[in-house]
Symmetry: D3
Amino acid sequence: MFFHKQELQFKSSPSKPDAVLAKRMQEILGGQYGEITVAMQYGFQSWNAHEPGKYRDLLYGIGAEEFGHVEMIAIMIAQLLEKAPIEQSEAAIKADPVLGAVVGGTDIQQAIVAGAGARPVDSNGNPWQGSYITASGNMLADFTANANAEMQGRVQVARLYNMTDDPGVRDMLSFLLARDTMHQNQWIAAANELRAEGKEDLPVPSNFPLNKEERDVAYQYLNFSDGAAASEGSWASGPTPDGKGEFTYHEGPTTSVPMPPPTVPDERFYGTTPLPNTMEKVAGVVKDTFSKK
Amino acid sequence: MFFHKQELQFKSSPSKPDAVLAKRMQEILGGQYGEITVAMQYGFQSWNAHEPGKYRDLLYGIGAEEFGHVEMIAIMIAQLLEKAPIEQSEAAIKADPVLGAVVGGTDIQQAIVAGAGARPVDSNGNPWQGSYITASGNMLADFTANANAEMQGRVQVARLYNMTDDPGVRDMLSFLLARDTMHQNQWIAAANELRAEGKEDLPVPSNFPLNKEERDVAYQYLNFSDGAAASEGSWASGPTPDGKGEFTYHEGPTTSVPMPPPTVPDERFYGTTPLPNTMEKVAGVVKDTFSKK
Amino acid sequence: MFFHKQELQFKSSPSKPDAVLAKRMQEILGGQYGEITVAMQYGFQSWNAHEPGKYRDLLYGIGAEEFGHVEMIAIMIAQLLEKAPIEQSEAAIKADPVLGAVVGGTDIQQAIVAGAGARPVDSNGNPWQGSYITASGNMLADFTANANAEMQGRVQVARLYNMTDDPGVRDMLSFLLARDTMHQNQWIAAANELRAEGKEDLPVPSNFPLNKEERDVAYQYLNFSDGAAASEGSWASGPTPDGKGEFTYHEGPTTSVPMPPPTVPDERFYGTTPLPNTMEKVAGVVKDTFSKK
Amino acid sequence: MFFHKQELQFKSSPSKPDAVLAKRMQEILGGQYGEITVAMQYGFQSWNAHEPGKYRDLLYGIGAEEFGHVEMIAIMIAQLLEKAPIEQSEAAIKADPVLGAVVGGTDIQQAIVAGAGARPVDSNGNPWQGSYITASGNMLADFTANANAEMQGRVQVARLYNMTDDPGVRDMLSFLLARDTMHQNQWIAAANELRAEGKEDLPVPSNFPLNKEERDVAYQYLNFSDGAAASEGSWASGPTPDGKGEFTYHEGPTTSVPMPPPTVPDERFYGTTPLPNTMEKVAGVVKDTFSKK
Amino acid sequence: MFFHKQELQFKSSPSKPDAVLAKRMQEILGGQYGEITVAMQYGFQSWNAHEPGKYRDLLYGIGAEEFGHVEMIAIMIAQLLEKAPIEQSEAAIKADPVLGAVVGGTDIQQAIVAGAGARPVDSNGNPWQGSYITASGNMLADFTANANAEMQGRVQVARLYNMTDDPGVRDMLSFLLARDTMHQNQWIAAANELRAEGKEDLPVPSNFPLNKEERDVAYQYLNFSDGAAASEGSWASGPTPDGKGEFTYHEGPTTSVPMPPPTVPDERFYGTTPLPNTMEKVAGVVKDTFSKK
Amino acid sequence: MFFHKQELQFKSSPSKPDAVLAKRMQEILGGQYGEITVAMQYGFQSWNAHEPGKYRDLLYGIGAEEFGHVEMIAIMIAQLLEKAPIEQSEAAIKADPVLGAVVGGTDIQQAIVAGAGARPVDSNGNPWQGSYITASGNMLADFTANANAEMQGRVQVARLYNMTDDPGVRDMLSFLLARDTMHQNQWIAAANELRAEGKEDLPVPSNFPLNKEERDVAYQYLNFSDGAAASEGSWASGPTPDGKGEFTYHEGPTTSVPMPPPTVPDERFYGTTPLPNTMEKVAGVVKDTFSKK
C-alpha cells in the first residue's frame, strides 16, 4: 500500500515562470529515463521479486521515493507554466519576436490539453510507455539496468542544469543530482553484493549450464569493422571479467555457414516462389477452384 | 558503409517447422532487448561518439556483428514457419485440438501480413521502436546500458532454450548465448577501462561539479518503505562505490518542505480555480465578452 | 454506408495563412479528444451496439456529423498552410527573427511529409491511435465517456479560440463550440434516459449481482493522503448517487493483509531466488546438464 | 511524498496457479482503464489542480489508494504465474493438448521477458502509455472522465469475474468491484458538488462567453444518418440539461457552404497542382535551376 | 460532409459464430493495410489535394466507399463474436481442450474491453495509428502508395479466405477481393494518366531540377552484397523506366570518402571526449564551479 | 552477415553547424520513409524471400547500401549539432531573439538525451517503429511498396534541399536524390520484370482464383461522392490495366443489403441490450447470484 503526504522532499518552486523550461523538464518526468520510469521499474521489480529480505526491501524503499520525485517535478512544471502566455496569434508573435522565441520552444499540449499543467510525456511530447521499464526477475541484470537508468538520468539532469539559471529550479536539480549519485552507488553496491553472496554471477544468468553454450566463441572478439584499434582494449586480450576465460581477437568471423535455401511455404500464402514451383502453384489454383466455394 | 555477404555466422536451421516457436523467437529479434535493439544501439553510439580510436572501433566492430544476428534470427523464423498451417477454420480446430493448440500459440500476423515470414516485432506483436535504444554520448553510462542489454538478452535466450527441444534451434541459441557471454564481458571490461584511464568515473557524469549537487543527501539511503532489512546491505553503510562518501541509513526522508500552493493560470485556460478567484473569473468573462468577437 | 458531399457544414476558411496556428489546430483534428476520436468512437459504439432503435440511431447520427468535422478541420489546416514558408535556412532565420519565431512554432512534418497539408496527428505530432477511443458495449459507461470527450473537446477549442484573432478561424471555432455544447447536452440526456428507462443504472454495470461484491467497503471513502478537507465533500457522508448506500469517511484503509510471500517460479526462468532454494537450483542445473543437449 | 507499507489492502492470492488468467488480469493492471491509468490520472489531476482544499484532497486521497491497487494486481499476477510451464515445445504441446490449450492463451512475454512476472501492459501485451490519462485542469470535465474510467473499469472487472472460478481471485475482484462502486459514486457526487457550488457548470467550460459560440446550432440535433428513431429521445426535444436551451431535431445539416478551393502552396513542395499553374511551375524550376546550386 | 445510410454495400453476416476468426478479421479492419487505413489515406489525400477536378473527385469517391467497408467489417466481427464464450476458467479449458483451442486463438480484448465487439486494432491487438497513412501532396507518389495499399490488402484478404470455410464470411471476402481488384486497377490507371497528361513524371518529383542531383550515380546499380545474379535483371543494364538514362552495374560503391572525424560538442553535454580534450574539460569544470551556483 | 568499413559513400559534412536543420534531417533518418525504413524493409523482404537468384540478390544488394545511408545521415546530424547551444535559459532567449528563434526550432532531445547526437526518431521526435515497413512475401506488391518508399523519400529530400543553403548538406542531399532516382527506377523495372516473366501479375495476388471473387463488381467505379468529374478519367471507362476487364462508372453502390440486426451476446458481458432481453437478463443475474460465489 502507498500513503501520500502533502509535503515534498525538497524545495520545488521556480524563481520565475518559464514555459520554455517547462517543456524541457518533461524529459526527466515522462521520458525514457524520467522519474516515472524509475518509479515503475523499481515497483515492478519488487512485485516480481522472488525472495523476501534486503534486496526486495531495497526496491520498495527506493521505488516509493521515486514516486515522490514524479510529484515533485510535476508540481515544478505546473509552477513554471503558471504565467504561460495563452495569446499566441501570429500577429502577436510577429509584433513581439521575444514572444515568438518563447512560444516556439514550449510544449503546446501543456497549454491546449493540460491548461498550463504537467503531462505524462517526454520533452518532445511522446507519451510515457510501459516498454521503458525493465523487470526480468534476474536481479543482477535488473540492478545493472537500474544503475544505467540512474546514470542516464543524472546525465540528463546535469544537462538541464546548464539550460537554466533559475535558482529555484537549480536547487531542485541539485537535489535530484545528489539522489541520482546515491542511487547509482546503491545499485552498483547491490550488484556487487549479489555476486559476493553467490546469488548470481557473470555471465548472467550464471546458473545456465555453460556446457550448453558454444564455448568456442564465448571469449572471441570478432571485429566486423575495419577499425584496428579495437584490438588495443582490455576486451581483446587478457582475462575476462567473469573469471572464466581469456579474451582473443579476430578480424571478422571465425565461423560461417552458407545461407540456407529460401523457404517455400503453402502456395495459398500467395508469395512469389521459384519457377520449379510454378506447376504446383497452378495445381494449387486448380485445386482451389474446384473445391467448394 | 556496410557490406553484405550471403553467409550466416552459424548454423541457423531448425530440425523441423514449429510455428509456435516462431512466435516466441520474435522476442529476440524485435523485442526490447532483441537483436535489432543492440545492432541499432551500438550503431547510434558509434555515430554519436566523440573520439576516434579503440572505443569507437569497438562499437563499430560489435554493432556490425549484431546486424548479422538480426538476419540469422529472421531466417530461422522464416524456416520455422515454412510449413505453417493456413487452414485454420474453427471447424478444423475443433476437429483437431492439436491444430487448435498450435494455432492459439502462433503469431497470426506472421501468416496474414508476412505470408509465413519474420516481422520486426516482439513475441506479443508489438513493433520494434526507436525508444528501445540508448545512446547518450557518455560512454560509461552507455556501456552500462550495453552490459544490461546483453544480460537481459542472454536471460531471454536461456529461457527460450528451455521452450524447445529442436536440436537445430538449440544449436543457434547456444551460439547466441556464447556471443552474449562475450559481449557482457566486453562491455564490463570497456566500462572498467574508461574508469582506469580516467576518461569517466562514478558518479556519472563525473565531470559535473560536485559542489553543485546537494551533497548532504548524496550518500543517504532514505527508506520510504517499512522493510527494515534494507538496512542490512552494503548500500546502507560503509564506503560508496564511487570512493567519495560513506553510506548512511535513514527511515524516510531527512528533508521536507510544505506542498507549494496550487497554481492559478490565466482564466482563459478555463480551469477550475479557487473561490477568491471567482470575481476575477467573472471579470475575465466580461472582458472576453466585450472584446471584439 | 457513408456518402460524401463536396460541401462543408460551415465556413472553414482562414482570413490569412498562419503556419503556427496550423500546428495548434492539429490537436482538435488528431489529438486524444480531436474529431477523429469522436467520429471513430461513435462509429465503433454503433457497430457494437446490441439493440436497434433510438440509441443506436443517435450514435449513427452524430458519428457521421463528426466525420464531416474531421474534413472541415483538415481543410482549414491546409488553407492555413497555403503560404507556409519553405525557405528556412538558419541564415534566413537569423536574418529575420520573425521568420524564426514562426518556424520554431510550426509542425515541420506538415511541410516535409505532407507538403503543406494536414496530418492525422496531434499538436505535438503524435499519430492518432485506436487506443484513444472507448466502446464497451455498456451504453451508460460509453455515453459518460462521450460526455467527457465533448467536454474535453470544448475546453480545447475554447483555449484555441484565445490563441488566434483570425476572424475566419474564430468563426469555425464558434461553430464547433456550439456543436460541442449540443453534444455534451445530448450524451447527458441520453445517459439520463438510459437510467429513467431502467436499461442501465449506477453502479455500472448495474446487472452485476451486488452480493458478489465486497459490500462492506462499497461506500467507504478511504483517504490515503493527509488532506483532511477531503471529508468535507458530499462524497464523504450522506446518501450515494446510486441510491443504494451512505458514504462514510475513514483515514486510510479499513482492511489489510500481510504481503504474500514472494513467488518462486521454475528455476529455469533464471530469476534470483532465496538461499533455501540454492540447492534446488544447483540440482536444476545438474539436471539440465545431464539432459540431452 | 509517497510512503510504502508492505501490506496489501485486501486478500490477493489465488487458490491455484493459472497462467491463462494471468494474461487476462493484465487488462485491469496496464490497460486503457487499468489501475495504472487511474492512479496516474488522479495523480496528474492533483498536481495540476488550481485550488487547495477538498477537491484536491479528494484527488490525492483516491490516487494513493489506486497505486496500492496497482501493486495488489501485480502481485496477484505473479502468483498466478508461479507454476507457469516453461517447457513448451511443439512436441510437448502435441503430446498434451491441454498444455497447448493453456499455452495458447498465455502472455508469452510474462515468461520470456519477466520470468513469470507481471508487466506494465494490457491483456494483448500493448505497453501502458501516458496518452491513456486525462488531466485538463477543468474539474467538471475531469471528474466526468474519472466517472467514466471507474465505470469502464468496473465493467471489465465484472467480465473477468466470469472468466474464472478461482475463489481467491474472485475475492480480490469482489473487493475491486466494491471500490469501483465507491469511486463511481464519488466522482459523480463531486461533479454535482462543483455545479452546486457554482464552480463550474454545463456546457463545460461554463465561463467561456456563450455569445462567442454560434448559438443558432447549439441545441439542434442534426441527424446525419437515416435512423428516424433518433428523434424519439429526450435529446431531440424538450429542455437541455444545461438549462439554457431547447432541443430541436433536424434531418441533416441546417447550414452548409461550398467546399473551399484547393490550396496551391509554394511549387517547391513538389505537390501536384492544377494545369493553369504549370507555367508557374516551369518558371519555378527554371528559377531553381539558375539559382546557385 | 458525410451522410450515413443504415444499409451495407454487401452481405456481411457469418453463417455461424467464430471467435477465432473474429480476431483474424481485425487485420483487415484496423491493421496497417486495413480498411481504416485506406479510408483515412484517401481522405487526407483529398483534403490536401491541390487541384479540383477528376483526381480529387476520385479520391473523395473511393474514400467514402472505404468508410463503408470499415463499417461492414466491424459489423461482421461483432456477429462472429455474438456467441463468444465468456466462461474461460483454466478448469473449463482443461476439461474441454476444444474450448482451450478456441480461447487461445481469440482476441481477449474483444471480450474484456469491447464486450464481444470489434476494436480499432490489428489481428495482434496493436491499435490503428495515423502513421499508417501516406498523403504527401504529390499525386504520382501517393497513387503508387494507394496501389500498394490495395495490393497488400488484397493479399491479406486472400489469405484470410483460406482460413475459414464459413460461406457467409467468404461471400463478404469475395466482395472485398473484387473491390480491391478494382481499386488496384484504378490507382494504376490514375498514375498512368498523371504521366500521360504531363502532370507528374519519373523520377518523382519530376519538377525537381535534375542538375541539382549527383547525376553520375543516378543510374548505377551498386551491389553491396555478394549475390552476382543481381546483375542479370533489367535493373542492371538497358534503358531506365524514367526514359532518362541507362542502367549500369557495379560491385560495391563507385565513390567513397573517409569517415569524418568525431564531433566534440560543448563539454557541458558531459559526453566522453578524446584525451587532448581533457584539459579543456577540466577547465570547463573549473569554469562551471566558479560561475554562480 | 554484414561487414562495416569506416568510410562513407559520399561527402557528408556540413559547411557550418545548424541545429535547426539537424532536427529537420531526422525525417529522412528515422521517419516513416527515412533510411532506417528502407534498410529494414529491404532486409526483411530478403530474409522472407521464397526464391534464390536475381530478385533476392537485388534486395540484399540495395538493402546493404541503405544501412550505409542510415550511417551517413546520422553522422551528418551529429556534425550539424557539434556547436549546438546548451545555454538556453529564458533570460538568454529574451536577450537574444535569434537564439530563441533557433532554440524553438531544434529537437530538444538531441541535446538532453543524446548530448548533441542523432536519434532514431523522425523530425517531430516520434521513435522509428517496425510498423513502417512492408514485407508480405508477394514481390509485386512489395516492389510497388518499395517504389512508393523511394518516391516519398525523394520528395522529402527535395523539400529539405530548399530548407537549407549549406553547400555541404546540399551535396549530400544531391547524392541521396540521385540514389533515390536510381532506386525508383530499379523497383519499377523489377516489378515489370516480374510481370514479364509471369511470376506475378495484376490483380495482385494473381494466383488467387478469380472465380472466387465477386466479379460483378470487380471493374465498377462506384462513386460515393458527388464529384462528377471522377467519371472523366481512364479509371472510369475503357480497358483495365490488368487486361481482364472494362471499367464502368456508377453513381453510388450497385448493391446493398439491409443492416444486419444488432448482436445480443451473453448477458454477462454486461452490455446494454434490448427490452425483450430484460427477462433473460434478470434470469442471468439470478443465475449468477445463486451459483457458488
